[in-house]
């Protein structure tokens, strides 16, 4: 009987009694930064004797989680609009711009598509981001700058609205779609599987990444250092290596 009690107590305790870990920093970051931050975050943690937990998803989903009260310390998005909105609602400190990316058309490496105009051809299955995620918003912004008949023809070829940029890359590398709009860094991260087609300057949206410390952060000081490190530190270097541009 005593042993049963011990087991019960232990199992309750396993859930409730958290041990005194080193400080834990929770970073919610846009999917497009996965490869870069996975490289630098552990080093940041080692230097500060902290454990960095990375959570990647579409920037909009992460913002919604913060609005719902998720325990997050740092928010790093693939645009500046979402951090600005959180800041306006007092959920995030003044965001900083820390990197830029290039918005490109990605196609499988052996594709014969070589310009955005080729996407107007019928039966050219295209995957894009859903409207709420930054990559999807940039896509619609770019398409809106095309002549409206081209915009319509391209939108008619959209076969899937993915919740984040990784979903778009996956559909392309699996050969399900002929083309998709992603960030240059995603096309690069896919190894040789994808070919990035640069868009004419007049079509290019300004892709600027913004980050800030979540107002209810458990670790505000550590979070502040992490955000600063995105422009000047290990993570700045990792972002640069992954193909991100410096803050504007």
């Amino acid at each position: 009987m005593k042993r049963v009690w011990l087991v019960v107590l232990l199992s309750i305790c396993a859930g409730a009694c958290g041990s005194d870990d080193p400080e834990r920093l929770v970073v919610s970051a846009a999917s497009s930064m996965t490869e870069a931050l996975e490289k630098c975050a552990p080093r940041f943690g080692d230097a500060d004797d902290a454990e960095v937990r990375l959570s990647f998803a579409g920037s909009d989903e992460l913002a919604a989680q913060i609005r719902q009260g998720a325990k997050v310390d740092v928010y790093a998005a693939a645009n500046t609009r979402l951090p600005d909105e959180l800041h306006a609602d007092d959920l995030l400190t003044q965001p900083v711009e820390f990197a830029t990316n290039e918005f490109v058309l990605a196609v499988p490496k052996d594709s014969d598509i070589d310009s955005i105009e080729d996407l107007t051809r019928e039966r050219t299955p295209l995957v894009v981001g859903s409207e709420s995620v930054p990559i999807g918003a940039y896509t619609r912004e770019t398409l809106a700058r095309l002549p409206s008949d081209q915009e319509k023809a391209i939108l008619a070829n959209v076969r899937s609205n993915e919740p984040d940029v990784k979903g778009i890359v996956g559909k392309l590398t699996q050969g399900a779609a002929d083309a998709g709009f992603v960030y240059m860094t995603d096309a690069t991260a896919a190894g040789g599987a994808l070919k990035a087609i640069e868009l004419p300057a007049k079509l290019q949206p300004q892709v600027t990444y913004g980050a800030g410390v979540v107002s209810k952060a458990d670790q505000p000081k550590l979070a502040q250092r992490f955000v600063e490190g995105l422009t000047d530190g290990d993570c700045a270097g990792a972002l640069e290596d992954a193909g991100f541009g410096p803050a504007p």
Binding site: S160, P163, G167, Q174, A176
Partner: protein
């Protein structure tokens, strides 16, 4: 207190904890918004498209599961053959597969670059970004729920019924249709309901394998995820519909089998 009283108290505390933990999130869906709000959010065309698509795709997948799964389950329940245990295990495997694994498995097998991708493409069948792909994903994840339950239902039928009909000259096909299915019907209905519930809720495999497009591949769970960041009210409304439908399915099973059906339900 006596030892026995302590133990009873422990049982009650655990049950109360389990009940609170399991019902609170579901109740919260309805607390945040009035029925009026819910209905208004459903008026949005995207939400109705998602509901209609979920209904169509689930119905198609359940039809396939019933037509193929019922005879397959009958065979497993009435014959013993070498390797039967392995076959049963393989059929049940998708029950315990994480949805993301199901998505990858479908891509690797019947996806465009999958093992059978070329053959499927040559046959002119489109699965990526098509409702047919959703049906494939739903069927893959939901069929084990039905087959497992159907095997149990057929196995529980008194064999003397079958033997008697055969003695009287009925063919096995006749006995299967006229005796086995009617007698096993409550069990088959329970299995159908479980498969229906699983198919309605499918998310990961559908997104990975078929994509997400309004009216074509965006089922209710995908529409909920799509709205979660921008329109939480609408996400709540769609969730409320799924809760209601799922509760109705569960209740109907309870009514059909007086509660005993779910006692032997998988997982």
């Amino acid at each position: 207190m006596t030892r026995r009283a302590w133990f009873s108290a422990l049982l009650v505390v655990c049950l109360a904890a389990a009940l609170t933990f399991l019902t609170l999130p579901v109740v919260a869906i309805f607390v945040d918004s009035t029925p009026g709000d819910l209905i208004a959010s459903l008026g949005e065309p995207g939400a109705l498209d998602a509901l209609w698509l979920s209904l169509k795709a689930t119905a198609a997948s359940i039809a396939i599961i019933l037509v193929v799964g019922t005879p397959a389950a009958y065979l497993l329940a009435t014959r013993s053959f070498p390797g039967r245990a392995i076959v049963v295990t393989l059929i049940e495997l998708p029950l315990v597969l994480p949805p993301a694994v199901a998505g990858i498995a479908l891509l690797a097998s019947v996806g465009p670059s999958g093992v059978l991708g070329g053959a499927i493409d040559a046959a002119g069948i489109e699965l990526s970004f098509a409702t047919a792909g959703v049906v494939v994903a739903l069927t893959f994840v939901a069929s084990p729920f039905y087959v497992r339950q159907a095997v149990a239902a057929f196995a529980a039928v008194d064999r003397s019924l079958l033997d008697a009909s055969r003695t009287l000259g009925a063919s096995e096909a006749h006995a299967f249709l006229r005796i086995m299915i009617p007698v096993a019907l409550p069990g088959l209905a329970a299995g159908t309901a479980l498969a229906l519930g699983r198919a309605l809720g499918e998310f990961g495999a559908t997104l990975m394998f078929a994509g997400s497009f309004q009216g074509i591949t965006q089922t209710v769970p995908l529409a909920i995820y799509d709205r979660f960041s921008t329109d939480f009210d609408s996400a709540l409304a769609l969730s409320a519909v799924l809760v209601a439908v799922s509760a109705a399915i569960l209740l109907s099973v309870k009514l059909v089998r007086g509660g005993e059906a779910l006692g032997i339900a998988p997982r």
